[in-house]
């Protein structure tokens, strides 16, 4: 059974007004992500990864094309509808500045539920459950400055998942972490994907991070270049990724 949580058809994004110097960040990208997939988006810097993530996450509007998430066409929505859509259907993990440092970890995770008007009691139960899944029950009452970078990103993941979004969108989630914390976060994401059926789309330029995905889409100059599936174990997949990157002539991007 395959249900598409995300459908992107011929999406274009042009920055700059007509007549002025325009930059074509996306030149007609199409892709589909099915429920329960863990997809990575890779490409050299400036290739359009963040732009793609932004138009999918409704933070930016595409200039052309069609995007459907969980059966809803988001390209025609109004501002408030988009905001509501984000808060209900999407979960975000950014590279940095995920948590409000003036709120406790608990309050940070509870935010998406509070926004949807969930009762205080129910919020308590849900936050506790997601915190258990991510192994951060101990730090719920602490403030972001009092916990480690890895714990912060786990808390961010918890905040992104607490309201059962259709898809988890992550932009370089390990970018600001050391290798130990990065590894642990990636393992958690794998666990979420495999054991909790969370659909994930992760943008990264780091081959090691990407090797945790099940499928990787490579983009170059705003076009889809190729895609690879993981068939064997992670080490093997890692080598495969490096090969594609070498092909792309972007080997300097690899850590």
């Amino acid at each position: 059974m395959s249900v598409a949580v995300l459908e992107v058809k011929d999406v274009q994004k042009v920055y700059g007004k007509k007549g002025e110097s325009q930059s074509h960040a996306l030149k007609g990208v199409s892709l589909t992500i099915e429920k329960g997939e863990f997809v990575g988006i890779m490409g050299p810097s400036g290739s359009g990864k963040t732009t793609l993530l932004n138009v999918i996450s409704t933070l930016d509007r595409p200039t052309g094309g069609f995007i459907q998430i969980a059966g809803t066409n988001i390209t025609q929505m109004k501002q408030n509808q988009l905001a509501d859509f984000r808060s209900q259907k999407l979960g975000f993990i950014f590279q940095d500045f995920n948590l409000l440092e003036n709120l406790s970890i608990y309050e940070n995770i509870a935010l998406p539920l509070s926004l949807q008007g969930v009762s205080s009691k129910e919020i308590g139960a849900k936050v506790k459950k997601v915190a258990q899944t991510l192994g951060i029950e101990e730090i719920l009452s602490k403030y972001p400055v009092q916990v480690s970078g890895g714990q912060k990103q786990r808390a961010a993941a918890a905040r992104a998942l607490v309201h059962d979004p259709a898809i988890l969108l992550a932009d370089e989630p390990t970018g600001a972490l050391d290798s130990k914390n990065a590894k642990s976060l990636l393992e958690t994401m794998t666990d979420l994907n495999e054991n909790h059926q969370v659909s994930i789309m992760m943008v990264t330029h780091d081959a090691f991070s990407a090797s945790y995905c099940k499928r990787i889409l490579f983009i170059q100059d705003g076009n889809l270049y190729t895609e690879i599936h993981r068939t064997g174990d992670r080490q093997q997949f890692f080598k495969q990724i490096l090969d594609v990157l070498a092909e792309l002539g972007a080997s300097h991007d690899v850590r």
Partner: protein, 626 residues
């Protein structure tokens, strides 16, 4: 090179500097206007009315100066803190500290001079517009009043230059003492999220107690006198600060502790922002509360004084009109009025004394006021004198005739009151001669000019204000020859009314401008503080927007948060005013008349500042829409 850098960074912070400049210009221009009113010597010399309110403007200028000192120090240290990082960078890059101090000194000074130039110009405009308006209000001529008056200019420049030099030096010294690392690290402060403990509760209790003691001092000012005022001023001020340091953070924390409320919508974030504000702004919020109390208090005080003018004039005078030897114009004017009571009494003046005819007095005994300022009671009606005068000869303040050695009875109090308050309209008119009340026989034997005094009570004093003013003027001319160049001041009801009216209008006028200046400076301080944290807040709002918080919700959160920040000091300040007005209860008959007027004026101005702050803040923190 360094100068260029510093200029370009000043340009970047244009908005902050502009806010500072506006506050300074308002303060300087109002200070200047007060100075023109107080110093214009031709103007004040020729005007007995203005003379009496000169003191008011001097007091006003003094208060304004005090607050301005505070404001300049605060604003400058704020701007310095904004630029610490940048200045630290210069040092790291190898610029000498002395050089940077020098530049900072020049910057602060330049800022001061620019605001002085603009402030003086605005002040001249203000004086020629509003100052003249004041004179119309007081019905005094603006002859000899120059909006552009050099001594006032010197006064203003002198005062503010000293102030600016002082702050520039302090800024430079402060910088000289800081190390590079101090400067660079300065901005990396994080929100204080520590819970408030038992100590804070103690401080809160102490604060409440001090405010209570201060209020007690103000309410009991009649018995405590100066001590009451001192206790009131000091205890209330300290108490206010303590309350803002302790009670407010505890209150916000209590809000946050309420799970249900905190989990609702964006409340957790709004409260967290608020918590940061009240922890970060304690001192300034306390100051704002005190300034509001001062500003609104000055306005309310002036207004209350003004509204009490009739009452004050009425206490000393039952009769609206006192005329000595009225001329035909006076009679004409009297005929046009609705006169409730009119009495005529004869008196003679010779070289020795003034003689009133006893039989005249007894035939038409006048009314006397039974009220006095200390124990005013609006229900006390004037009473007719019933005191008989059995003796033949009465004296006021003399027990025997100096020449003849004849013994004089002491005039009973009630009659004494009438003659001194209603008949005697100027201390000049009898040339210092003693006043006696004598029987018909003595009166007939006195060789001297016979005069009459007419006292009249009309239905509405204010209705005939212009006519009575003209009568007063004619009386003045009569007395004038006795005192050539000096202005004659009459203690008739109108004379009292006029001077009290001028004094109180002056106070109100000053209170209003003082209030505006206070509010402007205070709101700038608040705005500075709030805006200085705005860049950090921007990340927060952009993240919230990304995870799907509706813009309207974010805007609502800003309105709510800043409303609380503005509301607390306003409530505190207004309470201070309400209690503080008690202070005037021993000079004012009804201190609370029209208290709503200054309150409304304050609320309007304050609300405007609130809205402007919200606007500016929104513009900075809310992400642009796609």
């Amino acid at each position: 090179m360094l100068l260029k850098l510093s200029l370009s960074s000043m340009k970047k912070m244009m908005k902050d500097y502009l806010v500072l400049l506006v506050g300074l210009v308002i303060s300087i221009s109002i200070f200047y206007m007060f100075q023109t009113l107080a110093l214009n010597s031709d103007f004040t010399k020729g005007n007995s009315v203005i003379k009496s309110i000169q003191i008011v403007f001097n007091v006003g200028a003094f208060l304004l100066a005090l607050i301005t000192i505070f404001y300049i120090f605060f604003a400058n240290s704020f701007l310095l803190s904004l630029r610490r990082k940048e200045l630290g960078m210069y040092m790291v890059l190898g610029a000498k500290k002395g050089k940077i101090s020098q530049i900072l000194f020049l910057e602060t000074l330049t800022m001061g001079i620019v605001s002085l130039v603009i402030g003086t110009i605005v002040g001249i405009a203000l004086s020629s517009g509003i100052g003249v308006l004041l004179m119309n209000l007081l019905e005094i001529s603006a002859d000899g009043y120059y909006p552009f008056y050099l001594p006032s200019v010197w006064m203003t420049w002198g005062f503010f230059m000293v102030l600016f030099l002082l702050t520039s030096t302090i800024n430079a010294v402060r910088l000289a003492r800081a190390t590079e690392l101090d400067l660079i690290r300065a901005e990396q402060q994080t929100d204080d999220v520590k819970a408030k403990g038992f100590g804070t509760v103690l401080v809160a209790i102490l604060g409440v107690a001090l405010v209570a003691v201060g209020y007690y001092g103000l309410i009991e000012i009649m018995t405590l006198q100066l001590l009451g005022f001192l206790i009131g001023a000091i205890a209330t001020t300290i108490g206010t600060y303590l309350l803002f340091i302790s009670l407010l953070p505890v209150l916000v924390q209590a809000l946050k502790r309420n799970r249900k409320l905190n989990d609702q919508s964006l409340n957790a974030f709004t409260f967290a922002q608020l918590r940061f504000r009240v922890n970060n702004l304690t001192k300034i919020l306390g100051t704002v509360a005190m300034l509001i109390a001062l500003g609104v208090g000055a306005m309310a005080g002036g207004l209350a004084f003004q509204k009490n003018v009739d009452l004050i004039a009425n206490v000393g005078h039952v009769y609206d009109i006192s005329l000595h030897d009225p001329v035909s114009e006076d009679q004409e004017a009297l005929k046009k009025m609705t006169v409730l009571e009119q009495n005529t009494y004869s008196y003679k003046v010779n070289e020795d004394a003034v003689y009133y005819l006893k039989d005249d007095l007894l035939a038409h005994p006048p009314l006397i006021s039974t009220n006095d300022m200390q124990n005013y009671d609006p229900n006390k009606e004037p009473e007719r004198i019933a005191e008989p005068l059995p003796a033949n000869l009465y004296g006021m303040n003399e027990d025997k005739d100096e020449k003849t050695g004849q013994k004089l009875e002491e005039l009973p109090d009630e009659w004494y009151q009438v003659i001194s308050q209603e008949f005697t309209i100027s201390y000049k008119m009898y040339d210092g001669k003693p006043v006696r009340v004598v029987d018909q026989a003595t009166f007939a034997s006195v060789k001297g000019n016979e005069h009459t005094v007419v006292i009249a009570k009309v239905d509405d004093f204010l209705k005939y204000k212009q006519d009575i003013k003209a009568m007063n003027q004619r009386q003045k001319e009569q007395i004038k020859p006795a005192s050539e160049d000096e202005e004659v001041y009459l203690t008739t009801k109108y004379g009292t009314y006029e001077s009290v009216y001028a004094f109180t209008s002056g106070t109100m006028f000053m209170g209003f401008f003082l209030g505006v200046a206070f509010l402007a400076m205070m709101a700038s301080c608040l705005m500075f503080k709030i805006l200085s944290g705005a860049t950090r807040d921007r990340d927060r709002y952009s993240m919230l927007r990304k995870i799907g918080v509706r813009k309207s919700l974010l805007v609502g959160s800003i309105y709510k948060e800043l409303l609380f920040v503005f509301l607390f000091p306003a409530l505190m300040g207004l309470t201070h005013v309400l209690v503080g007005m008690q202070m005037f209860s021993f000079i004012l008959l009804e201190p609370y008349v029209n208290i709503w007027v200054p309150t409304v004026i304050f609320v309007v101005i304050y609300a405007l500042y609130y809205l402007i702050t919200v606007r500016l803040y929104r513009g900075i923190v809310l992400p642009k829409e796609v």
